[in-house]
Each structure stands twice: as C-alpha cells, then as structure tokens.
C-alpha cells in the first residue's frame, strides 16, 4: 500500500481524531482547517449513519459527508480505526460481502448493544449542544 505523505499517527488512545472542518470564508471559498474532535463524536456519527442500514466503510464516509452537506469530511483512516474499535467493543458487527466493484467488502451493522449506545450518546450530545447553544445565544426572556 502506498505510504501516506501527510498526517500524524492517528491511533493511540489519548489522541483525538482529525475531522476536517471545511470552513468557508466570507466569499464562500473553502478554507482547509483541522479541528480536533473527540473520538466519541466520530463514534456517534458512525453509529447514527449505520442505524437501520448495512454499509461498508466507504459508504459510511460518503453518507456522513452528504448529510453534513460537505461541512464535515472525516479522515478515512480515523473512520476505519473507529469502526474496528467499535467492532471490538461489540457495538457493530461486520460481515464480508461483495461491493459494487465486485471485490470483497466488509459490511457493518449495529448490534443491540450498539443501538443502546447510540440512544444514550445521542441524548448526551443533544443535552451538551443545547447547553452550549444557550450560552452562545443572546439572552432570551
């Protein structure tokens, strides 16, 4: 496999993942920037994407990008590490199948534990977001 010319080691338990947040400047031109987000956020994005579907890694990445309208583009390596770790924790399970190219592809789906995790994490995240939102918004009556 060709070596990647860019990037830090994206593994390790202490480091976060890099999600490229494609910010746009006032003229609408995307400015590449990197934002460190917690691993948990990546996990929840993947879990939500998998809800009700059976997808392979590339499909997950595409869907997340489409869903966020291009604002969030997850680094592929990070995505796969997260997928495999979640498989180890038993939140997703994987099976080999055949993808569009005809080659072998690994398909993921949620387990019962994964569904539970999704519910819990979603609730937490929404509460967190709401709290931040309340701080940032102008004081309401």
């Amino acid at each position: 496999m060709p070596r990647s010319p860019v990037g830090q080691g994206a593994g390790g338990s202490q480091e976060g993942y890099y999600i490229r947040f494609l910010a746009k400047d006032p003229e609408g031109i995307p400015v590449a920037d990197s934002l460190q987000l917690l691993r948990g956020t990546l996990d929840i994005l993947i879990l939500k994407t998998l809800a009700g579907s059976r997808l392979h890694g590339y499909a997950i990445a595409s869907r997340i990008a489409a869903r966020t309208r291009g604002a969030l583009a997850i680094e592929d390596g990070a995505l796969y590490q997260s997928l495999h770790r979640m498989a180890e924790r038993g939140w997703v399970e994987a099976e080999w199948g055949h993808g569009e190219t005809g080659k072998r592809a690994r398909f993921y789906q949620l387990t019962e534990a994964g569904r539970r995790q999704l519910r819990v994490e979603t609730a937490n995240w929404l509460r967190y977001a709401e709290a931040v939102f309340r701080v940032l918004q102008p004081d309401a009556a």
């Binding site: 496999m1 060709p2 070596r3 990647s4 010319p5 860019v6 990037g7 830090q8 080691g9 994206a10 593994g11 890099y18 059976r54 997808l55 392979h56 890694g57 590339y58 499909a59 990445a61 680094e75 592929d76 390596g77 990070a78 796969y80 590490q81 495999h84 770790r85 498989a87 180890e88 099976e95 080999w96 199948g97 055949h98 993808g99 569009e100 190219t101 080659k103 072998r104 592809a105 690994r106 398909f107």
Partner: protein, 888 residues
C-alpha cells in the same frame, strides 16, 4: 448494497493473524478503489486520483496497524468465549453423567474426602508435634539432667537440690544450668474460694537456659530470687488466656497468692510445657538446707551447653563429678549416677514411635483411597469407551475428547477435594479434643497447609490420571470394537487385571492397619486385666495441704478428723480413709527411705535398699480394698503416745524378710525425718502404684496419728455412683475446713483412666484408620466383583440355561470374592509380620506376631470379602438367562 454471504463464525476455523492482516488490507483496498473511482469521476487523472485518495485516507500505516490490532483482540476474546463455552458444556455434560450414576459419584467423592481429610487431620497433628522443630532457641544445645540410681531400681528420676548445686559449681561444659521445683500457691480473690494453682519454682536464668523467653514482659531479675524479696510471678500462657482473657495489661499488675500480693512480670510462651504444664512460674528461693540436701530427689534440671561443648563431653564430665560425689557423700550418693538427655529426645521421646506408626497409617489410607478411586475410574472407563467412540466417529478432536474425560474426573476431584478440606478441619478439631493432655504443644495445632495440598494433589492426580484411562492407549481410541463387543474388549480384560492388583493391594494395606490396631487392642485389654491390688469403683479422692492453716500436729489431726466426720455425715458415704499417697495419683507424696531390719547386720554403706513410705489412717486399707495378708491393721489404739507401729507391703516383706514372719520384727526407717524404730504389726497386699503396667514396690505404712502430716488425700467410699456426690463432699469439706483449698480432686477410676489416656488415644486413632481402610477396601472388593460379574453375564446365563441353580451361582461369586481377597490377605499378613515389630514399644505383654490377633483378623477380612460379594452374587443369581443372552 449487496448482501453479505459468508459462513457464520461458528463453523470457521480459528483465524490467523495473517488472515486478519489480509482482511484489513482488502478492506482498505476496496475503500481506496471506490475513492479513486469517485475522484476520477470528478475529473482527476488516474494518477492524481490515486495520490489524492491516499492523502485523504490519512495515516495509512498507522491505521492498518490499529485495525489489525483491534481485530486480533476481538478474535482472541471470541476464542476465549468459545473455549469457556465448550468447557462449560463439558462440565455440564459431566455433571449430568454423574447424576445418572449417583452411587459411583458418591463413593468416589467419599473416598476422596476421607483420603484427603482424615489423612490431613492426623498428618497435621503428627507433623506439628513431631516433625516441626521445637521453637525453643537452639534446642540441640539443651540437655535435661536426671539422677539414676540403679540400687533403688529406678531408670531415671528427678534430682536433689544438693546434687544440682554440686553439678552447677563443678561442671565446665555448660553455659548455664537451671533447677525447676514443683511448687504451688492458692490464688486468692475476694470473691470465691481459693483456687489451687501449680507453679514451677525456677532458678536464675531458667528461661534463657531452656530457650523459651517470655512473650510478654520479662524473665526474673536476680534480686527477685532473694528470700525476702517481694513476690514476682510469670503467668503460663494458658492461665493468661483462660483466667485473664489474654489481657496484656496484666503484666505489671498484681495478683493475690496465698493472701499476699504478687507482681506479674511476664507471660510464658504457649509451647513451653517442660517439665509439664503449669499455671505459673515463680523465682525459686533457696532454703539454707536445700543446698546440701542430696536426698529429696523431686526437682528437675536443665542445662545449656557452653560454646564448643558436645553432649557426649557433658555426659562424661557429669559422670566424673558423680563419681567424686559418691566418694565424698557415700551416705546419699554412693550409687547415684547422672544422665544428660538431649532436650528434643526428652520432650518428644515418648511420643515419637507412636506418631511414626500413625504416619504410616496415614500413608496407607491415602494409598488405599487412591487405589479405590483409580479402580472406580477404570470401571467407568469401560462405560465411556462407547460414548467416546461415537464422539470420535462424529469428528470430535482428540483434545476435545481428552478434555471431556478430564471434565468428569475433575468434577469428582473438585467436589471430593472440597469435602476433604472440610473433613480435614473438622478432623483436626476432633483429634485435639480427643487427645491426651500431655501431647506436646497440642494447643497450637491447626490444619497443615502443606499436607492438605499434598493429599489434594495426590488424590486429584490419581483421579485425573485414571479418568484419562480410556484415552491413554497407544494410538487413537479403537472405534470399532467398543461399538461392537459390548465391553468385552481386550482393554477391558487388561483393566480387570489391573483392578485386581489394585484391590489386592488395598486389602493388604487394610489388613496391616487392622493387625496393628488389633495388637493395640489386645495390649489394652491385657493391661486392663491386670490386677490392681485395690478396688477402684465408687471412690473419690480429695488432696489437701493442711499446713498453712493448721500449723501444729494436733491442729492437723483435729482438722483431719473434722473433715472425716463431715464426709461420713454425707448421705451415701460408707467410709473414709486417708493416705499421703494414693496409687495412680499424679501428685502423690511418696518419699523414700532406707530400711534396716533390727538385729540384722547393717549393710555396707551404699548397699541399703529403699522403701516408699506412706502415712495412712486405720481405715485406709479397708476403704481402698487392699487385703491384709498377715498380722493386724492399724487401729485407734495406735496413737501418738503408743509404741510406733508399721505395716509393710508383700513386696517389702519379700525383699527384707523373705524367710521369716515379718510380724513382730523391728525395723528402722525415717518418714520425712530422721530414722526411727517401728514394729511391724502386719503385711498388706501389693498394689500397682503408678500405672497399670507398673510393678508393685516395697512400701511401709505408718499411722497418721503417730506422724501427723499436713498433706493428705481423703479417699471417700460411696455406696454407688460417687461422681454425683462430689459437689456435696466438696461443700462438706469447706464447712469443716473453711478457706481450705482442694489441691486435687478425682475419682479413683478417673485416676486410672487418666493414665490410660495416651494409649486410648493411639488405639482410637489407629482403630479409626483401620475401620476406614477396611471400609474402603471392602468397597473396592465389592466394586470389582460387580464389575467382573457384569463381564461374565454371558457365561452365567449359559450356566443357568444349562441347569445351574441360584445357590450354585451365588456360591461361585462369593468364592470369587474370597479368592480375590486372598492374595491381598497373604501379602498383608507378611507385611504385618515385618512392620509390626516397630510397634513393640507401644505393646504391653503382646508379641508383634501374636498368632491369635492375626488369625482373628484374617478371618474377619475373609468374611468381609464374602459379604462384599454377597450383593453381586444375588444379582448374578437372579439374572434372567434368556434376556441376558439377547442383550449381549
């Protein structure tokens, strides 16, 4: 997306790390291909697309490594879960199988439990007492010093203080020597009557000499040994625990001894029990005449060797000193020698041979238990062969088969082991409760972990090993013949032979133990048969020391009379006698004296022979049931102002006046003082003085009225069941003698029984082992007969079809059983003949090869073998030949 179509995990083989890496690469490759296609669709060139795809991926190598690692971890965890699942399956299956064979399981578990538990219990006791080194400091440097006087007919006896002083002053081999004097006090308190406590009066440096420093506080200071110093005491560990609740604050406090305060300066260690158990230790104060008293031999001496000295050197030096003392003091020391005994031998010597026997018994029972378990498992193996053949045919891996075999044995072993551990703890408690009080260091015994593990390991190993029997053939298990031949495979015959050997061995070992126990029983009964010379039943004894409260002889006599009257007034009492020494009494006062017959040539100094002197009341002999052989007994006329009279025992008569009538002869001897002349008025019967196997000794008796003594033992004869009267008698005594401490109280039968305690203990333990061994062996025989009968059902059916009657079949089976036991019996008899000679020290007037014992026990074992064969015999005889032949 397309449907996945892979085999479920369960049917995949184990996934290798290489496979994992390949899968990870495939996954990444797929992703990159899709990404490249997308980029190409967006207008990049293939080369640009490839480069950008790789760039977008991020850290390729790191991700690859991380993915593989995560996958490997997951695989490992899944494999572990699978493995545990299989093991659980095996155990559940094993459990189910065992429930279908409850008898087999129960017997196996019981056998294991007994083999492990009983053995560990006795091993713990034995090991703790014998094999562990004594916790004294350097006990190999310590010697116990005894006097030996062959003229007085004694092997070893206590020492006289004057002699001790001479040895101490003259000997160079010792770093220190200490004298131990039996002493006693009344522990007085404001509430309740005084309690008699025993104490050892010890000379300076005793604790350091013997190597047992106090665990609390300190040992005595030199000034505490001075005659007028305030009293100091050291508590024994037992007393500290029982009376003072292990309270460390008692050290430095005071207790009341003989109505005077005494300071507690320390607590002795629990394992210090030399010369015997005691309540207290006090500093010995020397009376001026003690330093030259070479007659009163009732003290104990210990010594610690100096640097570089050996026990042999010490003994030689003491011999030389003894010889010089014999020359310097011929009146007392002419025939006195000294014996220095190594301390360890002294403390353990009596117990060692007996405990060795017990250890051997333990080993035997363990062997028998293992043999039984092995035998049982071999039988089981036959049953399981078929099941294993089926499993193998269905494709089970060899390791899985072995694991299944082990599961059942392991389950049995674990349950048996747990039961064994419980039995071990209970057993130790039971043994400690049953054991004689003088077994060394009894109170510190607990279950010995090493032995428990040893027994556990042995039994478990046996269980697992023999449980593997079906798989322990050279190559793969033979699949076809078990399925075909209903158990009559070649392996089955092999196993039968091995089982016969096992069971034969069991019988042999059990027989050896049985014979050992039988010899002990015979010894015991021979001992009990011994004529005591007096009547022990329905008599109680109370020993008191009257001096303190009754200083003058008149007062003592009055007090004695008052107590006697009080006893006689108690309902149920027939008679009361008094003596200073009662047979079998542990604290009898029996001083010795030279005896000279008037008118005979005075023997050369050194050749006098001594008698034991006892002071008695006139009723004593009647109360004790000792017959009068000649002359008359004492009467009320033998008062202080009347001529001095004495009685002698038959043994004394035989020694001093063998050819003439002793009655009327004048003899000179001293009773606790200078020799005086007494007239012999009668001869009384011999008694056994100390134990059932002690010989009668020459004794003289003088009337209490003529030698008022303060240390007396009252013997109270009751009409029946004297034990019930004891509380009443005690009250009567205190009414007649207020504040008088009862030093020792016991029934005469209790005194005798006490001397038998040790023998009884050995008998009980060895007896218990023999019973266990015999039971196990019988079970082994039973199991084997059952098994061999099951192999012969075809043959038996044919016989019956041809007209054999039930009785004949039964006879055949029983004969088989007896024949099975016969080689074991022979081997056991031979082994017993060889091994029992080591028991000689424990036997009394019974030869280790006593033919009666052997014969009786051989017959017993033969009978048991027949009994064991009985049930299988009946079953064999009730076989329906037609059905049996069909089922084959």
């Amino acid at each position: 997306m397309s449907e996945p179509a892979e085999r479920p995990r369960r049917f995949q083989g184990p996934i290798t790390p290489g496979q994992i890496r390949a899968d990870v690469d495939d996954e990444i490759w797929f992703h990159l291909e899709m990404r490249i296609e997308e980029l190409i669709r967006e207008g990049r060139s293939p080369a640009q697309a490839r480069e950008e795809a790789v760039r977008m991926f991020g850290d390729l190598e790191g991700t690859r490594a991380e993915m593989s690692a995560a996958d490997r971890r997951r695989e490992r965890r899944a494999r572990r879960r699978d493995y545990l699942g299989e093991v659980l399956q095996d155990l559940t299956h094993a459990h189910r199988q065992l429930r279908r064979r409850p008898a087999f399981a129960m017997v196996a578990v019981l056998t294991l439990a007994v083999g492990i538990g009983a053995n560990t219990a006795v091993f713990s006791v034995a090991d703790h007492v014998v094999l562990r080194p004594l916790p004294y400091e350097a006990p190999e440097r310590v010697l116990a010093i005894w006097e030996v006087d062959p003229r007085a007919g004694q092997a070893r006896r206590e020492v006289a203080p004057g002699n001790f002083v001479s040895w101490r002053d003259r000997a160079r081999s010792f770093a220190s020597m200490a004298l131990i004097q039996p002493d006693g006090f009344d522990l007085t308190s404001p509430d309740g009557p005084p309690a008699a406590v025993r104490s050892w009066g010890v000379t300076e440096g005793f604790f350091e000499t013997i190597g047992a420093r106090p665990i609390l506080g300190r040992s005595f200071l030199p000034e505490e040994h001075a005659l007028n110093a305030p009293r100091a005491v050291i508590l024994s560990h037992r007393m500290w625990q029982q009376r003072y609740g292990s309270d460390p604050k008692i050290v430095g406090g005071t207790i009341q001894l003989d109505f005077a305060p005494a300071t507690v300066v320390g607590v002795a260690p629990p394992w210090l029990q030399y010369p015997d158990e005691s309540d207290l230790y006090n500093p010995k104060r020397w009376n001026p005449n003690e330093e030259t008293d070479r007659r009163s031999a009732y003290m104990y001496a210990v010594a610690r060797l100096g640097p570089g000295a050996t026990p042999a050197q010490a003994q030689a030096e003491l011999d030389a000193i003894a010889a010089r003392l014999a020359a310097e003091y011929p009146a007392t020391n002419a025939s006195v020698r000294v014996s220095a005994v190594p301390f360890e031998e002294q403390v353990l010597g009596d117990v060692r041979p007996a405990l060795m026997v017990l250890l051997v018994a333990v080993g035997f029972v363990l062997l028998i238990a293992c043999a039984n378990v092995a035998s049982l498992l071999l039988a089981r193996a036959a049953e399981r062969e078929r099941e294993l053949a089926v499993r193998a045919a269905l494709g089970a891996a060899r390791t899985r088969l072995i694991r299944q075999l082990v599961a059942e044995s392991l389950l049995l072993a674990l349950v048996g082991g747990a039961a064994g551990i419980a039995l071990a703890y209970a057993g130790v408690q039971a043994l400690v409760a049953l054991s004689p009080p003088n077994l060394p260091r009894l109170d510190t015994i607990s279950v010995d972990g090493r032995i428990l593990w040893f027994a556990l390991a042995t039994s478990l190993l046996t269980a697992v090993l023999f449980g593997l029997a079906p798989a322990l053939r050279a190559s793969r298990p033979d699949l076809l013949s078990p399925l075909r031949a209903a158990g009559r495979t070649f392996g089955a015959i092999e196993r039968l032979g091995l089982r016969r050997v096992l069971v034969g061995g069991e019988v042999a070992l059990a027989l050896v133990l049985l014979i050992g126990a039988g010899l002990l029983v015979r010894s015991f009964m021979t001992l009990l048969d011994n004529d005591l010379g007096f009547a022990p039943e329905n008599r109680a004894t109370f020993q008191v020391f009257l001096w303190d409260l009754n200083p003058t002889p008149e007062q003592r006599l009055q007090r004695v009379q008052a107590i006697t009257d009080a006893f006689l007034a108690t309902p149920g009492v027939e008679a009361v006698g008094i003596g200073t020494a009662i047979p079998f009494h542990p604290s009898a006062i029996d001083p010795m004296s030279n005896l000279v017959v008037e008118g005979r040539p005075v023997p050369e100094t050194g050749a006098e022979q001594r008698v034991y002197t006892t002071i008695v009341s006139p009723e004593y002999f009647r109360v004790m049931g000792i017959p009068l052989r000649a002359g008359r007994g004492f009467s009320a006329t033998d008062r202080a102002d009347a001529p001095r009279v004495a009685l002698i025992s038959e043994a004394a008569a035989r020694r001093y006046l063998p050819d003439e009538d002793p009655v009327g002869q004048q003899v000179r001897f001293g009773v606790m003082g200078a020799p005086q002349t007494w007239e012999i008025v009668g001869v009384v019967g011999n008694v056994r003085p100390v134990t059932l196997d002690s010989d009668p000794r020459p004794e003289v008796f003088v009337p209490l009225a003529q030698t008022a003594n303060g240390s007396v033992t009252f013997v109270v004869k009751a009409r029946d069941a004297v034990a019930k009267l004891i509380p009443a008698l005690r009250r009567q005594l205190w009414a007649a003698a207020p504040n008088q401490t009862i030093y020792y109280e016991a029934t005469v039968e209790g005194l005798i029984s006490h001397t038998l305690a040790e023998r009884r203990f050995h008998l009980l333990v060895l007896g218990a082992f023999s019973v266990v061994a015999l039971t196990l062996a019988t079970i082994g025989v039973y199991g084997l007969i059952t098994y061999s009968m099951s192999l012969r059902t075809g043959e038996i059916s044919v016989r019956m079809a041809l007209g054999a009657r039930a009785g004949e079949i039964m006879g055949m089976v029983v004969k088989d059983g007896v024949l099975l036991a016969l080689p074991g019996i022979l081997a056991g008899t031979v082994a017993a003949l060889v091994l029992t000679r080591f028991m000689r020290a424990m036997l009394y007037q019974v030869a280790p090869t006593d033919p009666r014992v052997y014969l009786q026990l051989v017959v017993l074992v033969l009978l048991l073998a027949a009994v064991a064969a009985y049930a299988p015999a009946r079953r064999a005889a009730s076989i329906d030949p037609a059905r049996a032949l069909r089922e084959d």
